[in-house]
Amino acid sequence: MIVGNYFSLEPPFIFLTLWGIFLTCLSFLAVPVFAPLKKKTFALLYLGFAGGISLVFLSESWLFLVIGWEIITLTTAFMVSQSHRKLGQQYFFLQFVGECLFLYTVILAQTTGYQKVGVISEVWLQNLFIVGVGLKSAIFGLHFWLPPVHSQASPPVSAILSGLTVKIGFVLLWRIIPQENAFLLGLGLIMAIYGGIQALLATDYKVLLAYSTISQLGYIALGIGIGSPLARAGSILHLVAHSLAKSTLFIGSGLWEKAHHTRNIYQFQNSWGKNPLNALATTIGFLSLAGIAPFAGYAGKHLIKLEAEGNLWLLILIQLISFLSVLYSLRFLWWGLFKNRSNFTLQKEVQKSNLSFQLLIATFILLILGIWPSTFSALLGIETDGLFLWSFQKILSNLIPLVTGGLLLFWLGGLSVRPKKAPSLDFLFQGTYTCCYRISRRCFQLLDSEKWIKEGLGGGILLLSQKIYRIVFTSFSNQLLLIPILLFLLLLLARIK
């Protein structure tokens, strides 16, 4: 039977597939608002995307996995290029480079003896897979394409790019890495810290969201890297929660851009008045990203924290990362939603966008995911009895970062109250943040491989190929001369042997 041979119908994969299709539909609902003229094209592309997603999650043969992933790349590239053609081409090229890396890794795995997608025990092969998946899933060092692409694509596209496409690699890593992997753990830590700091420094809302994606992906990588069953369960739970939260936020970002005519978070005015539903969804989305207790992101982060309790340094780092995500979430909520709500009046024309249904569903499910996480973990095939019980201590541990973060931010916000007219990065992040800012700038400049690739590599190859061409193509008689040279060389070699 073909299904039995090539596809695995186990609970987590079926659930992930259904989840992916659900998210795709949810994002597609936003298409008529943002690209009303290209509905049919997008419908086709989303259909292809859903097919690719199911192929990737369900397939047990490497060939189908690669095919599904490549279909996803192709459809998303076409989606991106519907609004930004050049960006679409760049995205496609980078993804194809990633595809090549991944293909080579897969071939290596297959020749090593792994005929099916499953647990891989060799560590070197695991690490190769991390690199091979890296470019497509924006693992640190190969993440440079993510912020520009995710922030410039149109909102429904960003929603599935950030919500589903980059997650595929992590689902794969989750499938193939059974135990701890120090490399992935380290990468996850770096990713989470780097993404968090960059998100903290961002002023463009979609750039902020893109960096927050990197930081949350770091969290997922961390969970897989720790490798104990609960941490793995936590990372897959976080993956599910984050995908919904992030796609909701990205679609909301499109609405905000329409409402405020800007993406600069300091210029958001009267958000609650302009679109209260979206404001609610955004708030819950960010709280969920921050891992605050009754919202979706909490469950996964909680499990990962539980597992890290044995190792003090790891625990401290993880707490720091959580604190960072709390901090940037609160920062956006403060600036974007709560700061300038002086004239609270409902404005009719923005409200008419048809997305209320979609936003409501998303918010609802985010809440359910947060309140009854064990239901979802059961769907994923994970035993989590008694881990999500409410206790005073637990609520306290969730409230502490929230309160301290709020206080810290309030204190800093109090510092930066003065220039209300034109809030700038430099002024806002004086004092405590200056140091962080400088370091991250330095890191960013050093690791800015995007420019390096765009200018250096393309031009270099062109120059090289032209030079070789000029060397090889000399006059006609020289070209003919190569025949006897090779002939006599070969005959001579045959004689010598």
């Binding site: 490549e70 190859i461 090889v472 070969l490």
Partner: protein, 503 residues
Amino acid sequence: MRLSFLLPLLIVLPLLTAFLIPLIDILAIALRKILVIISISLELVFSLSLLFYFSPLGKEKLPISYYLGGWEPPLGISLSLNHLGLIFSMLVSVSLFLITLYSLEYIEHHEGKYYVLLFVVLGAMQGVVLTNDLFNLYVFIELLTVASTPLVAFDRTSSAIEAGIKYIVYGLLGGLFFFIGIVLIYLSLGTLSLAEIALSFSSLPIPFQETVLIFFIISLTIKLGIFPFHFWLAKAHSSAPAPISALLSGVMLKLYLCVFLRLFWVVLDFPLMEASWLKSFVLYLALGSSLLGHLFAFQEEDLKRLLAFSSVGHIGIIVAVLLVNTPEALYGGMLHIINHLIMKSALFLDSGYFLQFTKSHLIKDLKGVFHYNRYLFASFVIVVLAMIGIPPLNGFFSKWYMLLAFVEEGIHLGGIVVILGSLLAIPYYFRVISYGISPCEEKPVVSLSQDPPPASLMIFTILALVVLTVVTGIFYFCLNPILDGAVQELLPLQIYPPFPGGS
């Protein structure tokens, strides 16, 4: 055995048509097109009926032979068909059918001469595939060279004639080395039948065997355009008219690959070649050639030269993967032969349609030309995606099997070249596409005629090739029975078609 009379018919029918065309021209020129269409359709029907009867699904079993004039093997010359021959015979018939349909609307002057030459080429191709005699093989290869040179120089422009001269000089040298190889074999073995050579070649002293191998290798690398001898290829393929470019780049190179496979695997002693340094030498030469081909295409300004250099790259990788000589490698190589034939013919025919509307073949003159026909533009994009190796189009599957073959045997350089080839292909094809769709205010300069010529047949041909690209991609496993048969014939040291009745 009932159908073995089809084998000589496959060769004779096109040659007969070629001789009938001038006669028909005397009667009435209008009849010529009908004759051409009838003849090429008959050829296709013959090939398809062979496929129908002899495919693993059919009733009869391959291989079959036909003795010309009823002379039995030691004296007479025989034609034979095995799975390898069946594949290539099919490919030749189908692609020539499409190319002829395309030419009916593309060629505007000297049509009579054009079809004579085209049918001679077709007959010679079928001869190369079917013949069972080394000297006949040589004659058919020379016939190919002689008939295709005027086709290369068909436009009679300066560059076309230069290309023709270059093509024929390299063709002559390749033929001469082939002849020397034949002479050496005849002098030592006293026979020219491929089957008998296969039986007794390994009994010769090893240095002598190596010398023969070297001559054949030189000859075939010249014919295939592997690196130090690739100079003629780009020039000839880019100066010819579009259908001829498709013929040269899509079909004829594959035909020499067929000769390559038959000579080195079946007739001459492949274990010897595998044991000696010659195999790895040719393998790495072909890999280097592949990389260089893609690099040259990367810097090329002329669209048709770009496509030709990409052919250099693909032929190099096919030769390399065939030389790896594992079942996966042979399977992947032959799959890529089929796929590259389809894709490259489609690209050349497609660019031929669009280049009618531009001043020159330079990429920067292509500006906005894709707006002439949206369907053909979409087909161009699809074929380019297949070329790069995007599933579920056909290029991906051959890329997959080639990679698998290289990595399994530990030849990581080969895998890297496959990857780099498809990576380098993206920017150069995307440059063409982005020039082609860039909006332009004024209509592009039409050089040939102000009204675009009627092109329904041309469009049909290209779309048929694109459909083939998609179908052979999704249903690539349907080719498995025949390809497996061919791989089985190549892999163990088998006797060429066995002689019923003994020799």
